[in-house]
Amino acid sequence: MDINVRKRSQVQVIQLRGALRMGPAVDSLRQTLEEALGNGDTRIVMNLSEVPMVDSSGIGLLVRFLALIKQQGGNIKLAQPSKFAVQTLRLVGVLKLFEIFDNDDAAVESFA
């Protein structure tokens, strides 16, 4: 999985490309989120437009960090989640936990 992180208006925009599943992909994203939290960055937009699969490990990671970051007054918002990512998150009942936006700009501006 490729992970690209950039900062826009005090918001970390994390672009993922590839399957978010157990192993290197989930480990890399965990590290990215831990670094963001360590730096005090709790406003996060995660672009899932190029994520064709999110397995239960990926879901667990997303909801765990969503809870941690919300405890610190921040949020993880999803931008352009793929059709299959949405289906999977809905199937296990966690889609409603996330704010979802059509693009990065709208998600970033929602933090203003």
Binding site: R21, G23, P24, S56, R64, L66, T88, G93, V94, L97
Partner: protein, 146 residues
Amino acid sequence: MPAEFSGGPENSALTELLDLSVPADSVAIAAVVDAISETLARLEVPEQKRFEVALAVQEALANAVVHGCGNDPSKQVRCQLKSDPQGRILISVADPGPGFSPDLVHDPKRRENVYADHGRGVYLIRQLMDEVHFERSGSEIRMWKY
């Protein structure tokens, strides 16, 4: 139907498409999932069905690696992919572990579980596949997609 696949639709003619044994590690099982997706694509299985099968296989293999093999890559997990003349797909995933009781799996959609960082794999498999059978005390799963 071979006795080893006794659970599922009645059928006497299953075609073996893949039979892979791989080390119990996450990179190896990802390759198996991708191989299954590519095989189903070659058979012109619709994208939605391919996605559902691939995610269910990913979950079954992940369970086999973590719970069946204790993340020990010296152990092996086996995955077989078969189809019948009606286009129904049968997948089995087996590990050398002691198994588990699928009845003890909790409902991840309950309020107290919704933020849990684990415990959704078997639930997902049951949602994605049309028939799910646990054999050998849970160390083998057989899943049908119609």
